[in-house]
Every structure is written in structure tokens, then in C-alpha cells.
């Protein structure tokens, strides 16, 4: 079976990351934005795992697990915030909740 070259994994990772960035910048629904952030996390994870596979180095896979746990924690906190915002306001458009500026 021909091995998929590293480049293709990295290109896929980059594409996923850019999609995530664009989603984060263009969408105004906080939940969609969180999903875009997840996409960026996992683009990074994909690159880690590809490198780990390529160089036969398990630390890349370990790091991917770490990223998954951090991402889960981050999502939990962010969703909690979003829920609180929903309770205080009818909609949850991020452009409307700019009251916390310095």
C-alpha cells in the first residue's frame, strides 16, 4: 500500500486551519465560532500526528491528546459563558456583546 506523503497531511491541516480561521472571522454566532475554533485545534492535531507518524516519535501523539483535553476544557468554559450570555440576552450575536471592552 503506497504511503500517503507527509506533505498531503500538512496541506490538509493547513486547509482545515484556514477554514477554521475564516469561519471564526466571518460568523457571528458564538457556537459556530466555537466550532471553527475546534476545527483549528484539530488542524493542529492532524499536523502533530502526521509528524509523529513520519518521524516515529510518540511525543506528537501525546501532544495531540493533550490538545484534545485542553480543547474540551476550553469548549466547556466557552459554552458555559455562552449559556450565561443567552440567559441575559435574547440573541447571542458576538458583535452585540462588546460591552466588556476595556
Amino acid at each position: 500500500m503506497p504511503q500517503v506523503p507527509l506533505n498531503l497531511y500538512l496541506e490538509l491541516s493547513a486547509v482545515l486551519f484556514i477554514i477554521g480561521v475564516i469561519g471564526f472571522l466571518l460568523r457571528r454566532n458564538p457556537i459556530t465560532m466555537l466550532m471553527a475554533i475546534e476545527l483549528m485545534w484539530n488542524a493542529g492535531n492532524l499536523a502533530f500526528i502526521a509528524f509523529a507518524r513520519n518521524f516515529i516519535d510518540m511525543s506528537g501523539q501525546v501532544f495531540a491528546f493533550l490538545v484534545i483535553t485542553v480543547a474540551a476544557a476550553e469548549a466547556a468554559i466557552a459554552l458555559a459563558i455562552v449559556v450565561m450570555v443567552f440567559r441575559r440576552r435574547e440573541n447571542a450575536d458576538v458583535d452585540d456583546i462588546s460591552v466588556m471592552r476595556g
Binding site: 471564526f24 472571522l25 466571518l26 458583535d95 456583546i97 462588546s98 476595556g102
Partner: protein
């Protein structure tokens, strides 16, 4: 027995310190009476040991006394350059023993007196802790065998005096008086330090033994300066001109404090210092002359002020100042034994006067103005008779103590050729008799009681017994020096062995004593005429001598002069610096920093929009920029630099 007392000498010093520490640490956990008991017990034990030591030291021959003088080695003063080794030794010689006997003996009586005098005070325990601390520092002052430890004690008594003058700390006047006393005493401390620097520069040591052993090598001019700086210390501590203004204000402290610190012991430390440093003054006649002049002028100066004051304690304070003037005059003229003698008798009768006055003040609920007294002789007979004994003693009436000691000084001044100062002392003797009996008449006699306080009876045994003992001592204390039989200068002979003038007071000038006695009686008679027999005479004198009266009432305006000369310029400078310098210069710099911070803050503030997606965009653009720099600029630069 002798070895026991000589070995126990450090305990004399230690008991009051332990007493003060015990009361301070455990006072709040025990009964009030326990603090008082500890306070009296520690002084009592010190007194017993001092008496025992006296019985060992005084009978020795002068040669043996000098052996014991420097034998009590306790330890070194650490952290000093190796060529300046200052041992902490205790000096037990006749002069320090005399002072120790008075400090612990009169101190014990005053502590016992305080047990009921201070009974109703809320800071009863603190009082006894401070009093014990005072006795400790005062003993340290007289038992030190070098100027450094003397200065430690010197500063310590200043501290204790400050604490006790400001004892009623909820009275602003008392706090101000305490501050004034401390500042003036610190001026004196600086004087002693300057003297010590000179000693170290010339002798390389500040111990009495080394300095006094090398006075011949120092040179007259340096010796004179040492004497002058020591005199500055003595003047500040003993309330002599021109640093006298703190003593009348110090009467804000409780009456036992006035009796112990500001009459019997601390204020005589200056006399002790001059007597102790007599080898310096013997070889620096100009400095000794200055001491005599300061003492003589103060004796007369304070006596005149005492004639017009109305606060019973202030009159006694000016009287103290005047009597210490006599002592300073004596030690300045070279009659050291006479000065020490007057110190001893003065401690008896002035403590007696203060404590009798304290009974009156106590009975009147704190009233000190003699215009609101009068006719108290029948209501407070004990206070009247004891005060009368004190007044007779200080006026110098035969056979009370003051007669002998004051005559010894006046006699010595005449013999040692100070004609002007002799006149001063004689006039001051008359004035002393006058103002003391003015006090007696206005307080205890002259018709009916003028005050509005209820007069409480004098019953407490702890107050009356010490006063009675002092009254007896005021009578018999002078008999230690009788014509042709001078016990005191014999006891002190080893300390003053090298004095240039004979110290014996046995050579009695009968005609002079009789003359001074007549002058004192004239003073009493005038007080009787002006205040008892024909009160209108006193009133007429007030009217016709209004200017003089105002001058004396305001103590020659010394406070006003010092205010405009020293206090006002400093305050004005501070006010000017506050208005001009602080606002424009000191405050401007932080204000500038504040404005700069606010400006840069407002710049970065624009970034802070609160729009999450804009933050994201900033983030992405930044990351892209960094990536671009890393990939093309930085990498390209390294690649270009590489061969």
C-alpha cells in the same frame, strides 16, 4: 559579707530592669496591686544591696577604694574598632554610691507613695513599669565607668522622663511638654557625644580611667572644649540656662514623677557629670568658670521666676532649677563635695515638698492653682506640717538640712573668689525663702479655702509614711556635715582626692552663715507681711511693678524667644517648602508620569473595541505577519549570510 555585696553589685542594676520587664510583660495578667508590689520590691532590693555595698565600700581606705573602683567587669561593648575597647564595667566609688543611695532610697519612698497616689489611674501598671525603667537607666548612668555607658544611661533617663511626662497622653499639653523635654535633652546628648569624640581623638578611649589619667596630655584648648560640650549635656539634663524651659512644662507628669525625676534624681545628673569629670574641669579653668557662671545665674534667674508663679508644682520646678543652679555653681567653682552635699539634702526636701504638694493636689482632686487653695492647714494638717518642714529646709533655716548644704556652697563660692556669683547666691537664698513661704501662706494659710473642689481627708498610710520619713531626713540630713566635723567630704575623699581645692566643709564661717540665715528670715518675713499680714501689699506690688511681673510670669519670655528664633523659622520653611516646592516640584513629577500613562493608555485603548472578531482578525494578521517574517525575511537573511 563584703564579697557577697561586691558580687551582688550588678544585681542593684538588674533588679529595676527585671521589675520593669516583668510588669510590662505580665502586668496585664495579674492584679493591679501585684504590679505595684513588683515595682516597689525591685527598688527595695536594689536599695538594700546599695546600703550593704555602702557599708563595705565607705569604711575602706582611699587606696582600697580605688582597687574596688574598677573591679566590676561585666562584658565588652561589641562591634567597635579593635583599638576602641569599651568594657561594660560598673564603677562603685563613693560618688556613685552617694547617688545610688539617693536614687534607690528616695526612689523606694516615691514608689511606695505612688501605690496610692496613682491608685485610680487607668495606666497603673504602665506607670510602675516606666518608673522601674527610669531607676534602671538612672543607676546605669551613675554606675557606668566610661562616658559611652554614661551616655546610654543618659539617653535612657531622657526616654523614661519623656514617657512619664507624657504619661497622661490624652492631654495634648502633656504630650507637647514631653516632646519639648525630649528635644532639649537630645541637644544635651549631642553635646556629650561631641565631648566623647574629642576624648577619643586625643586619648583614644572614653573610659573615665584613661581619660582622667591623661588629662595632662590633652592640652588646655581641647580640654576646654570637652568641658564645654559636657556642660551642654549637663545644662540640658539639669534644666540650666539656656536649656531650662522644658522643666516647668515637665510638671504635666504625675506628681511622683516630678518628685523622683524632675526634682530628686534625673535633673541632678548634670551635677553628677561635672563632679565625675572634675579632672577635666580642674585642668580647664575656663570651662569650670563657665559651669559656675551658668549655675549661679540660673540660681538667681529661676528664683525670681518662682516668686510670681501660681501653679504649686511650677513654683517647685523653678525652685528645683534654682537649687540645681547652686549645685552647678558649687561643682563649677571646685567645691565638689559641697555640690554633692546639696544634691543629697535637696533630694530629701524637694521630694518631700513635691509629695506634700501631691497630697494637697490629691485631696483637691487635681487642683494645682494656689489661688484656689488657702486655709488648708486645718483641713490637711499632715500635708501642712510636712510641707512646712520642706519649706524651712529649702529656705536654709537652722538646723534643717538646707541650712548646712546651702551655706557650704555659699561659703565655698566666697572662699574660691567668685564675688559676683556670691552675691547671686545670697540674693537667691533670700528669694528662695520668700517664694517658698509665699507658697506656704497662699496654700495653707491666708484665711479661708478659696477653691470649689471638695477636700478629701489624707488617710492613706502608703502616702503619709514616705512623706514622714522624708520630713525627718530633711531635718537631720544636713547633720552629716557639722562645724569641725565633716563626715561627707571624708566619705567622698577618694573620688575628689586630686581636686585642687580642699573639699572639707568643716571649716565653718559662722558670721556668713548667720548673715545668710538673717537674709532667709527676712525673705520669710516679707512673704508673711505681703501675703498673710497685709495682703494689699502684694496687690499693690503687682500693680506698681506690672512690667516686671509680666516678665517674670512669662519666665523672661524664653519660650517666646525660642519660638521665634528656632521653632518659627523651621515651621515657616516647612510651610514654604510645602506650598512652593512640594506642589510645583515634588508633586509635578508623579503628575507628569500620570499624564503620560493616561495618554499612552488612550492610544492602546482604541484597540480594545470589545468586538471579538476584530480581536481574531488582529490575531490572525499578526500570526500571518510573524510567519511571513520567519519564512521569508529572517530565513532569507540567514540564507543570504550563509556562504
Amino acid at each position: 559579707m563584703a564579697d557577697f555585696f561586691l558580687g551582688a553589685v550588678p544585681l542593684i542594676l538588674l533588679f529595676p530592669l527585671v521589675g520593669a520587664a516583668t510588669i510590662a510583660l505580665f502586668g496585664p495578667y495579674v492584679q493591679r496591686s501585684a504590679s505595684a508590689f513588683i515595682g516597689c520590691l525591685s527598688i527595695g532590693l536594689s536599695f538594700l544591696l546599695t546600703v550593704g555595698t555602702s557599708f563595705v565600700i565607705f569604711p575602706l581606705s582611699p587606696a582600697q577604694q580605688t582597687l574596688y573602683t574598677h573591679s566590676k567587669f561585666v562584658g565588652y561593648w561589641a562591634h567597635l574598632p579593635p583599638d576602641l575597647i569599651i568594657g561594660f564595667r560598673l564603677l562603685i566609688d563613693p560618688l556613685s554610691l552617694l547617688w545610688m543611695l539617693i536614687i534607690t532610697g528616695v526612689g523606694l519612698l516615691i514608689h511606695v507613695y505612688s501605690v496610692s497616689y496613682m491608685a485610680s489611674d487607668k495606666n497603673y501598671r504602665t506607670f510602675f513599669a516606666y518608673m522601674n525603667l527610669f531607676v534602671f537607666t538612672m543607676l546605669l548612668l551613675v554606675m557606668a565607668d566610661n562616658f559611652l555607658w554614661l551616655l546610654v544611661g543618659w539617653g535612657g533617663v531622657g526616654l523614661a522622663s519623656y514617657l512619664l511626662i507624657g504619661f497622661y497622653y490624652d492631654r495634648p499639653v502633656a504630650v507637647l511638654a514631653a516632646r519639648k523635654a525630649l528635644i532639649m535633652n537630645v541637644i544635651g546628648d549631642v553635646g556629650i557625644m561631641l565631648a566623647m569624640f574629642l576624648m577619643y581623638a586625643h586619648v583614644g578611649s572614653v573610659s573615665y580611667q584613661n581619660v582622667f589619667g591623661h588629662v595632662a596630655t590633652i592640652g588646655t584648648s581641647a580640654l576646654t572644649w570637652i568641658g564645654v560640650w559636657l556642660l551642654l549635656g549637663a545644662v540640658a539634663k539639669s534644666a540650666q540656662l539656656p536649656l531650662q524651659t522644658w522643666l516647668p512644662d515637665a510638671m504635666e507628669g504625675p506628681t511622683p514623677v516630678s518628685a523622683l525625676i524632675h526634682a530628686a534624681t534625673m535633673v541632678t545628673a548634670g551635677v553628677y557629670l561635672i563632679a565625675r569629670a572634675h579632672p577635666i574641669y580642674d585642668n580647664a579653668p575656663a570651662a569650670a568658670e563657665l559651669v559656675a557662671v551658668v549655675g549661679g545665674v540660673t540660681a538667681l534667674f529661676a528664683a525670681t521666676i518662682g516668686c510670681v508663679q501660681y501653679d504649686i508644682k511650677r513654683v517647685l520646678a523653678y525652685s528645683t532649677m534654682s537649687q540645681i543652679g547652686y549645685m552647678m555653681l558649687a561643682v563649677g567653682a571646685g567645691a565638689f563635695a559641697a555640690g554633692a552635699f546639696h544634691f543629697m539634702t535637696h533630694a530629701f526636701f524637694k521630694a518631700l515638698l513635691f509629695m506634700s504638694a501631691g497630697i494637697v493636689i490629691h485631696a483637691l482632686g487635681g487642683e494645682q492653682d494656689i489661688r484656689k487653695m488657702g486655709g488648708l492647714a486645718t483641713r490637711l494638717p499632715f500635708a501642712y506640717w510636712t510641707f512646712l518642714v520642706g519649706a524651712v529646709a529649702i529656705a536654709g533655716i537652722f538646723p534643717f538640712a538646707g541650712f548646712f548644704s546651702k551655706d557650704a556652697i555659699i561659703d565655698a563660692v566666697l572662699k574660691l573668689h567668685h564675688p559676683y556669683l556670691f552675691v547671686f547666691t545670697v540674693v537667691a537664698a533670700g528669694l528662695t525663702a520668700f517664694y517658698m513661704f509665699r507658697l506656704v501662706f497662699l496654700t495653707f494659710l491666708t484665711g479661708a479655702y478659696r477653691g470649689d473642689h471638695e477636700v478629701h481627708a489624707e488617710t492613706e498610710r502608703t502616702m503619709t509614711v514616705p512623706v514622714a520619713i522624708l520630713a525627718v531626713l530633711s531635718l537631720i540630713g544636713g547633720w552629716i556635715v557639722l562645724p569641725h566635723h565633716d563626715e561627707l567630704s571624708f566619705l567622698l575623699r577618694s573620688t575628689f582626692a586630686d581636686a585642687p581645692f580642699p573639699q572639707s566643709m568643716a571649716d565653718f564661717n559662722g558670721w556668713l552663715s548667720f548673715g545668710v540665715l538673717l537674709i532667709a528670715l527676712a525673705g520669710i518675713a516679707f512673704a508673711w507681711v505681703a501675703y498673710q499680714w497685709r495682703p494689699q501689699i502684694a496687690a499693690a506690688l503687682h500693680r506698681s511693678l506690672g512690667g516686671v511681673h509680666a516678665l517674670l510670669t512669662n519666665a523672661y519670655y524664653f519660650d517666646t524667644i525660642y519660638h521665634w528664633l528656632f521653632e518659627w523659622p523651621v515651621l515657616a520653611l516647612a510651610q514654604w517648602l510645602r506650598d512652593a516646592f512640594e506642589v510645583d516640584a515634588v508633586d509635578a513629577l508623579p503628575a507628569l508620569a500620570l499624564r503620560a500613562g493616561a495618554y499612552f493608555g488612550s492610544l492602546s485603548n482604541r484597540w480594545e473595541t470589545g468586538y471579538l472578531r476584530r480581536y481574531g482578525l488582529t490575531f490572525v494578521v499578526g500570526a500571518a505577519l510573524l510567519l511571513f517574517i520567519y519564512l521569508f525575511v529572517a530565513h532569507g537573511a540567514t540564507a543570504g549570510a550563509a556562504p
